[in-house]
Symmetry: C2
Subunit: 408 residues, 2 copies
């Protein structure tokens, strides 16, 4: 007998019929003798409906009241799913975030979980109940309703799994696992049976939409075994996200290729090469609340240097304006930018112990005539920035070069 | 400065625009220097939508989960109204039933209020906030969400007014007060400026739909001044429901004429006139969960008696069947029934000290050729059962006979 936490997103519980399907799946695990805690999101479309209502009465809605409003979405789902489980003859009981309680700080609309009082849930599980918990929501120490922000239901699932020391946390989505890359770009892309947390973190932060990065961080921190599965496929075993490399003796050197075209590049040319120059450039950008991703500085020969960084494409124009406002102050010769770029990354814990990954990557791109504009590396990742028109080509040739279509 | 509790029903908060109108009205009272607590229902249509969802997943929905589900309706409204109040520049804060807390017993879907912890609300009022409370809902001692059943939001308003010792509890509805009778039947019907609790109780129990009888009882018990007002009319002062007769020196003898055609009559003819016969007849009816309203027994001359009672028209056939099943056991000669009847009542605390009300009533009906089938009286009410086809006529002539169109 295992204790399993299952999380179902808005699409999986989007209609009464789909809720009944989720109940069937839960029943299957229960019949096998497992204890099951189910975390659910609001029915798809419900959150948007509520946000629209709020904006009609207050164009810039108060965050405390927004949380009171939005938390009703999951509350509807927990009641309906509990009813559906009872209709199958199971014992079921619903819990709002306040009822659990999932204690958070008071940062409305983006609260962080501080503590989970899991005693009542444990007692219900021991008494044979399926426990159904509202995702995305909690309660602060004064009893105010809070929400966890984007991807919050995943975080609720992982946090509950950690608090209950669950054997596995299963995240049901509309894809059946984590792939070596996006199958829409590379038809030969292959579902991974396992991936390490570090790799998953890089995949998530580089644009893979399967899991919110925050829930992956949380799972890594508390050593929760995470599994990504499709709620529309009864047979698949999904992708297990492991926290121990030893679990993966057969781990390939490279696990996957991530990519995104959400970024834009800004270059500051000919700035005096003196201490503090990076701060003089990025300080005003940070003050304008613009997040910076990659940063590269080349050592110059003539006492000046070129400084390049990337920002989200939506903030490209704003960042350019900010820098032009301080150009004379920092003594830059020229400020230029390009928002037609893409970032492509190869990811794998295996590269820690294998030389030659970078050279394979660069040679493969060179053979296709793809110019590399920027390079940045971490222990388990190499990212390059290229012209966005070559993005799909680069992903396809790299996927082949690293043998990802062949399986582990 | 007064402390006012205002309650708005589902129609009054049915759209974002109407919620904004309610906020305007609340702001008016706040600007006059009053402290205001607002109790709201779910937006009209929302409860039906949720019930339909529930029935899709569980045809006979679990009552605990039904309360979890339905309580989201008012939770949406409190958030939206608080936002609308802030949009007008007021300080506002919402409370669910659990947050208040409004402690109830654990009779899901029809819970009764046991206690209200009003300290936080009082502190918010003193700090200048408008407090917005979800009607219809509470929480039991174990933290389960409960609902109060039909008319529950009125009850929440009155209970909060009692707990806070409010100066007045204003119930906003889609009518502008309590009338001498239904204006659709008697165009000359007049809005009452005041009515006593006892009269209101009789009006409510006799089919006047303005207030739920439970909230009126509650208000009477805790001496809460209740006022019924229209939420679509800014000028009206509605009807004040008073708990002291002295408030009404100019009180008319008769306050109003109530009527309904929801009942049916069953007569058991020729039963032996012996002790226990009433129980032998009504016992089986009660066991079948059929409520009985009027009961009349005539003393017979030949050792037998006739026994007549009324039930809700929906339960007429069932009651007839029950009695035919025990007819031989009770030794009745015949059992007959009529579901084409109406009950018409004149109501007024003034009749306590005025003779002749009954004779005026009976003479007036006789002059129109209306036969009286049953009569029942209380201290402040006389009810007659007549053929339903004469109902409107009876109400019109009685309204005129007691001078109700002329004002107090």
């Amino acid at each position: 007998m295992a204790l399993i936490v299952q999380k179902y997103g808005g699409t999986s519980v989007g209609t009464p019929e789909r809720i009944a399907n989720v109940a069937q799946r839960v029943a299957k695990f229960k019949m096998l003798g497992h204890q099951v805690v189910v975390v659910v999101s609001a029915m798809s479309g419900e959150t948007n409906r509520l946000v629209a209502l709020a904006k009609e009465v207050q164009p810039n809605p108060d965050s405390r009241e927004m949380d009171v409003l939005l938390s009703t979405g999951e509350q509807v789902t927990i009641a309906l799913l509990s009813m559906a489980l009872m209709e199958l003859g199971l014992k079921a009981r619903s819990y709002t975030g306040s009822q659990v309680k999932i204690v958070t700080d008071n940062a409305h609309t983006k609260a962080r979980i501080l503590d989970i009082e899991e005693q009542n849930i444990r007692a219900d599980l021991d008494a044979g109940y399926v426990v159904v918990v509202a995702g995305f929501q909690g309660v602060d120490e004064k009893g105010n309703i809070t929400t966890l922000g984007r991807g919050g239901s995943d975080t609720t699932g992982v946090a509950l799994a950690a608090a209950l020391k669950a054997d596995e946390c299963q995240i049901y989505t509309d894809v059946d696992g984590v792939y070596t890359t996006d199958p829409r770009v590379v038809p030969e892309a292959r579902r991974l049976k396992t991936i390490t947390f570090e790799e998953m973190l890089e995949m998530a932060s580089l644009g893979s939409k399967v899991l919110q990065i925050r829930s992956v961080e949380f799972a890594g921190k508390y050593k929760v075994k995470l599994r990504v599965l499709s709620s529309f496929d009864d047979e698949g075993e999904g992708t297990l996200i492991t926290f121990e490399e030893e679990d993966n003796m057969e781990q390939a050197i490279i696990s996957g290729i991530a990519f995104n075209r959400d970024e834009a590049k800004i270059t500051v040319l000919g700035v005096p090469d003196r201490p503090g120059i990076a701060y003089q450039i990025l300080g005003p950008v940070g003050e304008a609340n613009i997040d910076v991703d990659m940063i590269i500085q080349n050592v110059g020969a003539d006492g000046t240097t070129d400084f390049t960084f990337t920002v989200h494409r939506n903030e490209f124009k704003k960042a350019l304006e900010v820098l032009k406002g301080v150009q004379s102050h920092i003594g830059a010769r020229e400020i230029s930018g390009d928002d037609r770029i893409a970032k492509v990354s190869v990811i794998g814990v295996g590269m820690r112990s294998h030389a030659g990954i970078a050279s394979t990557m660069f040679r493969t791109l060179a053979e296709e005539g793809i110019n590399i504009q920027m390079i940045s590396t971490s222990e388990i990742k190499i990212s390059v920035v290229i012209d966005e028109k070559y993005m799909e080509l680069a992903v396809r040739v790299l996927h082949k070069a690293f043998g990802l279509e062949q399986g582990a």
